[in-house]
Symmetry: D2
Subunit: 155 residues, 4 copies
Amino acid sequence: MLNKTPTSWLYVKRIVRFGETDAAGVVHFHHLLRWAHEAWEESLELYGLDASNVFPGCKNNRVDPEISLPIVHCQASFRIPIKTGDHLKIKLAPEKLDLGSFQVKTIFERDDAECAQCLIRHLSIDTKTRHRSSLPEDIDLWLEASMINNGPSAV
Amino acid sequence: MLNKTPTSWLYVKRIVRFGETDAAGVVHFHHLLRWAHEAWEESLELYGLDASNVFPGCKNNRVDPEISLPIVHCQASFRIPIKTGDHLKIKLAPEKLDLGSFQVKTIFERDDAECAQCLIRHLSIDTKTRHRSSLPEDIDLWLEASMINNGPSAV
Amino acid sequence: MLNKTPTSWLYVKRIVRFGETDAAGVVHFHHLLRWAHEAWEESLELYGLDASNVFPGCKNNRVDPEISLPIVHCQASFRIPIKTGDHLKIKLAPEKLDLGSFQVKTIFERDDAECAQCLIRHLSIDTKTRHRSSLPEDIDLWLEASMINNGPSAV
Amino acid sequence: MLNKTPTSWLYVKRIVRFGETDAAGVVHFHHLLRWAHEAWEESLELYGLDASNVFPGCKNNRVDPEISLPIVHCQASFRIPIKTGDHLKIKLAPEKLDLGSFQVKTIFERDDAECAQCLIRHLSIDTKTRHRSSLPEDIDLWLEASMINNGPSAV
């Protein structure tokens, strides 16, 4: 069962939509990875970060962020089929891996039973040179705040 | 500007996610149609309908609904590019066309400016015979309630 | 039935994949619009155009194209449900509308029966100023060549 | 470099489409997982299997297959950004794990350089009882044939 902590920005919700299922009647697998990324975006926003500081192409971007966060690895495991109309609780468990990379584990629950887990790992690179760089300050703050009450051992 | 009416279930919100944009930096067009369908699903839910009465394959379905609502036509028009992180207000304007069909117009706004419009038209058919049928009672109620304060002339 | 003409770049094929269906067992509607856009991209390629002359963000782009082709309108009509494994023949019928806009009608057939039609309308704008511009020369050539043997009346 | 073997059904191609990129100008990560699943479907077809023997909801299904193959795990690793118009060679390396499960590793190459890898693991279950079952005979044949010349050590 998801354990509410002060890090409220690490909990989001999602209702499953009909177009996300396939002819087997359950959610088609790759949508989970999309949901995990979107949950991360929602978490950053709930924490107070502006999307334009993290992602290129936002409305308020005069220039795009100097640091990019490409995904180098992702994975997902599926325990219980998820269906149209299901109300999912999503818990994020971020972890800073080193000065220039982090990962976000995402746990999907329905009625307090775990349905699936995802993990997405990001690298931090200089947008122009494509060389590795330290994490953007905003992301660093979000990671630190997230790990205080909700470290890697919490999941 | 969207005009709030008693039919509060016809107003939903959506925040644009990074994966919905393309390399031109704006939302790739076909996501609008997906959003329009998902807004319809959200509206039914806000009104009080259970997804399992409308869509096959839901968790609580012992049997799937006897009536299906295939889409026979859809269209979308785009006025203003939509970008990552944009907060969209979405207004639905449903219209019953005859005993066995209806359409839902969907208007997308950002900062009170209209960005795009979609329209999705559904037919009502008997799931087994594939012959035309009257609309399911639940959908009929939602249509009637939606059109009282918010008829076709409202948009 | 699709009538083969010398404009062979206007005919492409597609096999329907499982993840494109929904729990009703048929293709979820908005994929048709995606397929129509992808068929257009394939047609340009078959005709001999390089994607990097049309789309931003291609591998060989030192600079992105000076002209963008945003979609201002799209629509689709559905006649016959499409299912996993279906072999679709896709016919494109492009039409230049004026100096700065064009549309592509796309007809989807299975076993010589028409299943669905799409239409996507593009505007030509200067990427930097966002003002209307004439069509890129490459697109103009593709449109002219396509309409010689396969004008608007052909569909 | 991909090494052509007699198991020609394990090699497919794909051209990257514009709508698969995001505002960073590269393919958005989760499409890789979709491509991996679609490459598997294409491989089964090239080998000679009928989709209707594997997937529910196909045109020729009077009844759906008695055995389902839900995905229990997937993962992907990304080495080189992939862009619009890129021609990808895709190699599949299937592996039978036990009597009731298998996985398919998928390697994506552009210009003989590896861009990304995916892995999708399937379980075999009885569609009605949802209990574990042996693999469907068709899938078993495809796995055996695929592993003769192209075993797990080949990748």
